[in-house]
Symmetry: C2
Subunit: 187 residues, 2 copies
């Protein structure tokens, strides 16, 4: 707890980001019964003057986001459309590493919704340098918590085969009661 | 063709609905190579002074919509939330039967979207009195056409087991490349 408190404390009031320190802490500690250790989180990041936080701000540098998506091998998309998609998503969560005054975008996710019943999570990405540290889980728990706090009861997503297990561990069920995810393809 | 032209013509300028006559006609005729016959559509509706049209208006009588959903056995939902969901859907399509000055809500569907890449279709319903006449297909083709016209490339939905085949016939593919639809359930 001491670690998490110090890691996620000291939010800089000059930062435009909305710090979500307690969310990260709570998600990890409640779900796993213990906080992650510094080693888990910062294995290859020796500089302890680094902290990681979430933001719901939408004024993300689109080139920085493109760089993040490039890093995981996603196909490039027109930035004009990415901007529109961010504007019209119900929820946008970005994850940042801060070292001194330098911020780096290390994760991203967003959800579309009808603001009432359903939300669908899209574009979940964590930079490869920060994978395997529980940050993807923290990001997902944060987005789930936000959606639940908005009274959204049906949280859905479409998972590539290699991440089905990741989502299953977070409480997602594939094809519940035989419900199938379907995609329309032009003839 | 003559039948469809007459069935879907005569839009009443006093109607608050946006008539989408050509959409129904085109969807049916283009996809199946022939228009539906009057028998297909109006099998048990002997009054030929009836016409069916789509609308994208959102000021739907919520009690009428509830009645439609009751008719297919859906669980009731708080009307306050239904109203909010309709307001915040990207696209809302209702299907109406008009006889003289009387209109009856006989179908409904809506889609959430990021207005750029993805759309997810929810709440597809056709009144049991009007099922088996190709109207569900027409409704779906209409919504697909609208979404495509908005440059949405990824049209998705979650299908109950008994309607997977219905959507497959419309060009939807389940679990393409192993992508799984997943739903989050609280612990």
């Amino acid at each position: 707890m001491g670690f998490w408190k110090s890691l996620f404390s000291g939010s800089d009031s000059s930062s435009p980001q909305k710090i979500a320190e307690t969310d990260i802490y709570n998600a990890e500690s409640q779900a796993e019964g213990k906080p992650a250790t510094r080693t888990d989180l910062m294995r290859d990041r020796p500089n302890i003057n680094s902290r990681i936080f979430f933001s719901t701000e939408r004024d993300i540098d689109l080139y920085e986001l493109e760089e993040l998506c490039d890093a995981v091998g996603w196909s490039r998309r027109p930035l004009r459309k990415v901007k529109k998609a961010i504007q019209h998503s119900f929820l946008v969560i970005s994850m940042w590493e801060q070292r001194g005054t330098q911020r780096r975008l290390i994760g991203f996710s967003r959800a579309t919704s009808d603001h009432a019943f359903n939300a669908t999570i899209w574009d979940v990405v964590v930079h490869p340098d920060f994978q395997g540290k529980g940050l993807g889980k923290a990001l997902m728990r944060h987005i789930i918590k936000k959606l639940r706090s908005e009274d959204i009861s049906n949280i859905t997503l479409f998972a590539d085969p290699q991440v089905v297990e990741f989502y299953r561990n977070l409480g997602f069920i594939s094809d519940p009661e035989g419900i199938k995810g379907m995609f329309w393809y032009p003839d």
